[in-house]
């Protein structure tokens, strides 16, 4: 399992910032202005913090938790993207059908549907892994594409908006909308839910027997089986499905909290970015909150950075990538020593 040094993430982020500064300077940009704009865009105002930074962090938080959970148990779940789509479709459909129900009934149903759908989407790779020893990296990756295409099929077909013009669905009934968490902003309760789940997951890992055994399987599978007498197949299956469920939840939360309808390409690759989020957090659920917010801040700030200092928005991905590479390399230093 990945055992990054504690200073790894800081090293990675520091490295990323240094590289960014150098690149910006070489590119003729005003470095100071750029970082100032980044900060303002992310944290400069109440709106910035809530409607941009935190709101954008939610899907990464949930998928990051999903990925961290799986990786902790030694399961390479690359399928968070597809599981997210599955959850989004299921959640939206339930919301659409149950439009007449009151919110306090409908919203939990929507979220529950997404959990089940996400888990179901992880079921096939789980079975193939446990019965056939098939590498889950490839199976989950393949199912991502299936999910995206199925969603596109639905959105352009059965779920398409009534006029049949745009590749998006009819609006989600109001009673399925997630309530706003913070005053006049766009920040919805999904954020609170995600944070609660993160804390819950942390508690599970730290204090419960089940969480301990999951960690054992991830860090020492042979010892877990022989000494711990853990039924590793059952635990693996449970974790894999739970991971899928969390990713599915991310999909529904996005649909019911932000998009308020089902778009064909609802995710710009959150399921993959989640891998970076999880690693930067050293697979620690509380850490995931921090790194997800960090990534959200980068996204929010980058828009501001582009407006104010002309720095391309896409540079954000480079920062994220360098941070991850920094952590990976830092982990290797330990092994060599």
């Amino acid at each position: 399992m990945i055992r990054a040094r504690w200073w790894g993430p800081f090293f990675g982020i520091g490295l990323a910032l240094v590289v960014t500064s150098v690149a910006l300077a070489l590119g003729g940009y005003d470095v100071g202005e750029a970082f100032a704009a980044l900060w303002r865009g992310a944290f400069g105002s109440e709106q910035a913090i809530a409607s941009f930074t935190l709101k954008r962090s939610v899907p990464l938080l949930l998928t990051g938790l999903a990925v961290a959970l799986a990786f902790r148990a030694g399961i390479w779940n690359i399928g968070a993207e597809g599981q997210l789509y599955a959850g989004a479709v299921a959640g939206f459909t339930v919301g659409l059908i149950g439009g007449g129900l009151p919110s306090f009934v409908l919203i939990p149903l929507v979220l529950l549907a997404s959990l089940l759908a996400g888990a179901a989407w992880a079921a096939l790779p789980t079975i193939m892994k446990l019965k056939g020893g098939t590498n889950e990296v490839i199976t989950t990756l393949l199912l991502n594409f299936v999910a995206i295409n199925l969603t596109a099929w639905l959105v352009q077909g059965a779920l398409q908006e009534p006029r049949g013009v745009y590749n998006e669905s009819a609006p989600l009934p109001e009673s399925a909308h997630l309530p706003i968490l913070w005053g006049e902003t766009d920040l919805h309760v999904g954020f609170a839910l995600a944070v609660v789940l993160a804390v819950g997951l942390w508690v599970v890992f730290r204090f419960t027997r089940a969480g301990f055994l999951v960690r054992a399987i991830g860090e020492g599978p042979a010892a877990a089986r022989i000494t711990g007498q853990v039924r590793s197949n059952r635990v693996t299956a449970g974790v894999f499905l739970a991971s899928g469920a969390l990713a599915g939840l991310a999909g529904a939360v996005q649909v019911a909290g932000v998009d308020l309808k089902l778009y064909e390409s609802l995710s710009p690759g959150w399921g993959y970015t989640a891998i970076a989020v999880a690693l930067l957090a050293r697979l620690n659920p509380l850490g995931v909150v921090l790194t997800a917010v960090f990534f959200g801040a980068l996204q929010a700030g980058a828009a501001g950075m582009q407006r104010a200092a002309g720095v391309p928005f896409a540079w954000v991905n480079v920062i994220e990538a360098i941070a991850v590479l920094g952590v990976l390399i830092a982990a290797r230093e330990k092994a060599a020593a």
Partner: protein
């Protein structure tokens, strides 16, 4: 985005001819990238950062062609760009033993973000497309006259012909040469290979970089032959799809060729369906190749076995 490009590039004409022609056209970049990834995976290196090399190749190709006015130079530049990004993946993975999946994810982010950043800072987010010098298709005399198959297979850009030629070339290389044997040995059992005196890490590095070279060429082909322009994220997930193509093609060159064309055909199916008047459900056909690949993995269609040491770091701490 890519849909728009597709629409623009589709020729009119008889439905079937258009279908075959589009299928090959869509399949070629996939095959090229997949053949490279196949070699990499045969040595045990799973590169999900392939996407980063493809998009880098596209930008490199575009910049190279613009700078010199020659699409040929662009192709070379694209290949080089693919390798450059590939180094950011291969060196940590092979020499520092970092995890292949996570490193690959980071490199994909790096490639996508870096190319988009460079593009928009050089050319502004103005919305007008670049016009690039393109790789003109070369029609093979006589063969290109065959109905339906002719224009599809024998009137293509040079990089496409290269792609077709690579299948037999790599088949010969992998199965009939010493170096190919060494690559395969390293991917199956690196410990035994090391005991036989093979330079495991050097072989893995070379194989991985070869994969990124072909990915870069695929990207250059995308920009210079397929679309004639560059757009952010124009690789559109092809790096990941290439991995699926390798699996469906069971890590064998000819099968990878056909698998890639099959994926291309699935995408092209929408044209056929449109002509036939069926406008619904083409996305299901888009999903079909992936489902088939899953079935192949699960052993429901024949047996598909990955190189035994695929994805594993070496040397392993014991």
């Amino acid at each position: 985005m890519i849909e728009a490009l597709l629409q623009a590039a589709t020729p009119t004409g008889a439905g079937w001819a258009a279908f075959v022609e589009a299928g090959v056209r869509l399949g070629i970049p996939l095959v090229l990238a997949a053949l490279g990834e196949m070699v990499s995976e045969r040595a045990g290196v799973l590169n999900i950062g392939l996407e980063g090399s493809i998009i880098a190749g596209a930008l490199g190709g575009a910049l190279g062609a613009l700078a010199t006015g020659s699409a040929g130079v662009g192709v070379v530049a694209g290949g080089a760009a693919g390798v450059l990004v590939g180094l950011a993946f291969a060196i940590p993975v092979v020499w520092l033993n970092t995890d292949q999946i996570i490193t690959g994810t980071a490199v994909t982010l790096l490639g996508l973000g870096g190319t988009a950043a460079i593009y928009s800072s050089r050319f502004g987010a103005t919305g007008t497309q670049l016009t690039l010098p393109t790789l003109e298709p070369i029609a093979i005399p006589l063969l290109s006259g065959i109905p339906v198959l002719g224009p599809a297979f024998f009137d293509l850009a040079p990089t496409a012909y290269l792609t077709f030629a690579l299948a037999p070339l790599l088949a010969w290389f992998l199965f009939r040469t010493e170096w190919g044997l060494e690559v395969r040995a390293v991917g199956e059992d690196p410990d035994a290979a090391a005991a036989a005196g093979l330079p495991v890490r050097r072989l893995r590095l070379a194989a991985a970089l070869f994969g990124t070279l072909l990915a870069g060429l695929a990207g250059a082909h995308l920009a210079l032959a397929y679309a004639g322009t560059f757009a952010e994220n124009m690789s559109a997930g092809r790096g990941f799809i290439a991995i699926a193509v390798v699996v469906l093609g069971r890590w064998r060159p000819w099968a990878v060729l056909f698998a890639g064309l099959f994926f291309g055909a699935a995408s092209a199916l929408q044209f056929l369906l449109q002509t036939l008047g069926w406008d619904v459900g083409y996305q299901l056909f888009l999903a079909l190749p992936y489902i088939l690949t899953l079935a192949a993995l699960g052993g429901w269609i024949g047996r598909s076995r990955a190189p035994a040491a695929l994805g594993l770091p070496w040397p392993r701490r014991h």
